[in-house]
Symmetry: D3
């Protein structure tokens, strides 16, 4: 499938348009099992900031190229050649800390662009899905996987606490704290069924193609609905996670005081009555 022109300059990601208003973002570094290095996550951030405001996109599917891995996570070899861990070479502990801190913040912001993207993002996982794979998928809205997926919050095994988002988002994405701490502290692998049982994943499919197909169907369904309604729903659910119910209700009322001034409701209601497919203006 042809790449969407707006995104054709990306080096490590392929962005195609498999259906109207649906963008498919593929992590594309197949020679390295889609492992991430710095230029790559910076590119990821730029891509999702663009998708966020692209009026031709209403839903995004994110997957990894190749059969073996969604992504093996951080490219440790590349990382160890950079100067981050040496703190930019500073002799002083405080200055090394500043260097490291700025680096982590930039990394977090790049990956966090997936969560901040105004359009829903459906993540399709398969094969090895280690470390950064978890950070990244936690930023997506819906997680779907193939039966063969091998998940691990792997960071402890390379001597660090995960710092790109897993420890902040995973406990809020699944219901069992005991399970979260088990997998985060032990760095052990878990499979698709376990991920489904605890609610990290909401669908498991036989194979990567089947999972991708399901994701594209869901994305197509979402993209067929009012973008005012869909994007408002994503925004309000994300806001709700980090605020009290009372704060959320107030924010929701303010949000909808503008969002309800839309023709989409009329269009949606009419098409519901007439059994036709509604058309919604771009957003």
């Amino acid at each position: 499938m042809a790449e969407l022109p707006l995104y054709s300059g990306l080096e490590h990601f392929r962005v195609t348009g498999p259906a109207p208003f649906v963008a498919h973002v593929e992590i594309h570094r197949p020679t390295k099992l889609n492992a991430f290095h710095e230029a790559m996550w910076l590119e990821l951030g730029r891509a999702f900031r663009q998708l966020s405001v692209d009026p031709d996109v209403r839903a995004v599917v994110l997957s990894g190229a190749g059969d073996r891995a969604f992504t093996t996570g951080l490219d440790v070899q590349a990382a160890s050649q950079g100067d981050t861990l040496s703190g930019g070479g500073a002799a002083d502990g405080a200055r090394r800390a500043a260097h490291i801190r700025r680096h982590i913040v930039e990394f977090q912001e790049s990956v966090g662009a997936v969560e901040k993207c105004e359009k829903p993002v459906i993540c399709v996982m398969h094969g090895i899905s280690y470390g950064l794979a978890i950070d990244l998928s936690c930023c997506a809205d819906v997680r779907i996987c193939a039966k063969d997926t091998r998940f691990a919050v792997k960071e402890v095994d390379i001597g660090l606490a995960a710092d790109i988002g897993t420890l902040a988002r995973l406990p809020k994405a699944v219901g069992s704290t005991s399970w979260v701490k088990d997998v985060c502290l032990s760095a052990r692998e878990f499979g698709a069924d376990e991920a489904l049982a605890v609610g990290f994943i909401s669908q498991v499919h036989e194979s990567k193609p089947a999972a991708l197909d399901a994701a594209l169907k869901l994305a197509g369904l979402i993209a067929s609905k009012s973008p005012v309604a869909v994007q408002g729903t994503k925004e309000l659910l994300n806001h709700g996670r980090d605020h009290s119910v009372e704060q959320s209700l107030r924010y929701t009322a303010i949000w909808n005081s503008a969002a309800l001034q839309s023709d989409d409701m009329q269009a949606a209601l009419l098409s519901g009555l007439k059994k036709t497919k509604p058309r919604f203006e771009k957003l």
Copy 2:
């Protein structure tokens, strides 16, 4: 069963007293599958504000009249005849927004009275349970349903983001964010088993009567216990949802510094030893 006199003036709800200290509130607009219009939710709010301080009530069961629906949600026809979406007819976007905002806030406060009710509320769902059905049940403490229940966070399909509480409360009521976003963004139906698996519902029964029976039994059990203990437990669980553990512990200590000055503990302990049924003063 006879209506409780204090609530006999309600037009769209029937409130009966099937057991000591138990009130059963039935949404009662059977000709319209219990769909809600404005006068109805205002009445709902008044009813639960009364139940909250009614010393003869210690547990509440909320269900919908008829075989086909707990409630189909908002009465869209009635809503489209009101002046809310036209912003009270104002020409100006800002003034329309103010009109809509006040309307949403009033709607939220009416439905929110179920959550604020000091007595536990057990919600029994069956048949069609769309849109406002979810907002409403999210305000209850325990959710029980019949096997035939057809749930949907339906708002996206009529062109808006749900604004009466579902997006604020549902993610805090169940463990899987991926699932929550799936059903909220797609507006798809889900059934009783799925609702049980993700923890939205805590019991599924063969039929509406069986579900109602189970709810009344649970309500009866709760109503037989110390109202100081029960109402304190509801308050502290609700407070905890929106505060840090540390804030919660402090609030709990302050709350119990008065609540432990009660004869109920003595009564509960004695009746435990003597295998008798304790009597507790009204609250």
Copy 3:
């Protein structure tokens, strides 16, 4: 197994060292089914404050002595002989309240030392696990149990709302609010399978010895990893529970700006490549 000398003065707890860097804390009041009185929880607090900074400990297993109970909870008889509920004998409601409040706060802080312990704590439950058993286990990081465990949030049955942490922590430890409110309001018993299904427990084993064995294996695994990574992971997960994702990400970046200035990453990576067991400095 011999007690660890540093903890040999404890009266109601036995602390042994079954594996390198693993401490096993056993609640040890077998004549009373491990029921807690005041001196006992104060001792518990002191023990875990010590474990928190003990460089020879990297993971802790907490279990209860005897076959019949992890703990039956508060020793109600002992409590009723104390002067807490009489408010220290004060005539005045406000002064009684101050007395009770200080007592609850001290009790909360003692039990909370398990949560604040910088090393991961794995709690193994079996038999009767009522009341304080839940408060206590909610402070642990991972919960494992034997098939025979009988759990209950029992406080309502003795006339009070649980105030040592269950109502603050349990809803954040499991995904289904409907289930949490059911068991907290009804005080009913639930078993291991139900606890597993809702995610309160993350492993169920055939017997107490099997559960203990699994816990010690997990503790051993965790203790073999970088303590910088492990303790950072616990800290960041606990911080995340009570803060927004954005606050968490920032805190994480600051934390790791120092934690990444460690030799553990190098050691972990090398041993990964060489398939050897890394050695980490004490922490």
Copy 4:
């Protein structure tokens, strides 16, 4: 001046319309130096909930009738005849607490209606302004006083901690915590100059009539401006007090995404250029 018809049924307050879009609310119980009893604060709450949505009101001035007192605060005599402090006559400390709690909450909500009023409220104080006078004025937006005003956070002198809002709002209304604690802990009187120096008051005038005149002028000025702009400003300032800067900025952007869809900007700009007085639609 004639009372505004909408408010003519009030027993303890006189509401007049001294200028276009300005309402003047006078506490009017001159025989008792404007001391408040329960029926009176309930009426206050109703009045301000009405003013909040009254399209003919854009600014409110609140003052006290008579020469001697804005208000002496709670009518202690009336309060001691009620059943609040006896906890509704309950024998049990927990039940008395519930009774008292509900009473305080209702009292807080009545007085808080002044803060929640969507239109700015300018409070004019003079003479004795004790206890509830401070709670009440802390809910206003701007505080102006006569030189003879005698302020006191008097509650400690009648044996209680102020609970209708002073302790929550005063520290956020003035800059010096040391001063706030001094006057709250000592219950001492302070005068207009001291109140001005610490920023509690923003204008002091020679006499009550002069202060009232200044307040009416300010109210008139505010009422001449875009109500979209004015009411948005009040809302955003109140929101900001209780949220982080980041939360505030986001809320502001959402709020103004509707509020900027107004003709008022055009009208304001044009009238600025033409030196004419703009006319704004009702809100």
Copy 5:
């Protein structure tokens, strides 16, 4: 004046009882201008934890012995001999960080005991009041000083950001952020008049004895009032600083639901009418 027996074992503080229910705590290391070393701040923490629950104390005055300094702050010489800055001698940056972190937390908790003390604390400053002097006085409720006081947030001049509380509490204690940042970033000295003008101090007196005298008078006045009212007022003001107005109002209602069950109101009212001095039970 004789030391209070309960506190006579303190090495670096003298605690006397100059008036009924008033304790005077004097920092007493005159040979070193009251500079603090580790043993000293640990002792400070213990002393204030005792004062907090001492029923014979209702108000505390804190001052520094000698003519020249309230305190010059941290004893830098002693600190440089300890092993804190060397991180306990650890080679590894992460382990040094853990060592330093635990040290700072313990230091913060010791000084924070002044703020957590349930009884009001009036701090009297004079002469050199540098660094820790500001941290410490920010924990007090009321700050009074002599004209000769020389204040400085001195930490930047010894190469660190103040970490014992000044940067957290000072901006919430005074109104002008521009001023706070000026003195914290420049480490410059400021005098009593400037401290008064910005509201850091609420009274300035001619000399240390005059300031101490004023503090003792204020403490005596506070100690003569209902301890239920006074201690509640302190608690609620401290709670309010860190919570929204809405959270504060709720907490206040819960607090007073027990606190109003006191005989102190009756006693206070009667003595007000009879112009007698009320007697209040211990707390």
Copy 6:
């Protein structure tokens, strides 16, 4: 003075280096009294993001070119020619809102870069300082002004609530809420003395050159100190504004666990003893 090469490409700002480690940023659109249009605030954001990490900058002074105005605020003419207020030309209220929201957020982030700049920013105001002038200066750390400065929170007069930060930051920057609401609701002008009295400004000087001179001196002083200490102090003060004291203390301890691993303390102490000027490594 020559522009700093790194910033010489800026069109609307001149950045010079008047002293070691000091950058002077001048708003430079003299033909329009420094009024801001969109390209200009985007440039401002980029400039301060660069200053934030520029190791040759330790303190920043921000002022406006010309004699008459710091800045008159938003260039209303330019704004009315853009498509923001028309919501990008969308017909639909919801889509117009999305367009406006994105525009405001981008504007807020550009101006907010001044606050997020890791180095302290001293703002020097003079002449007309309206609207955006207040938003902008509220992001600075220290505010200094000339006697002739004419301040106004002018937005209400052009029909909108200020949305670039004034309403979020001003109430937290000064102590008197009554004053803040007065100037924000009335849009009236206020002068340097009033700004000083309420603490918005911390120094007033006779003329713009005198004010600028004072700012440069202060910047020079700050730049001569340990950048680890200075930048930590700014970070912790900003963090503290939006968090509870307890959260702040914890964050501070984590921050300093790395920051104290610095040679700056040794250097600062030694130079203090030797009366020499310390040299600090870049940061």
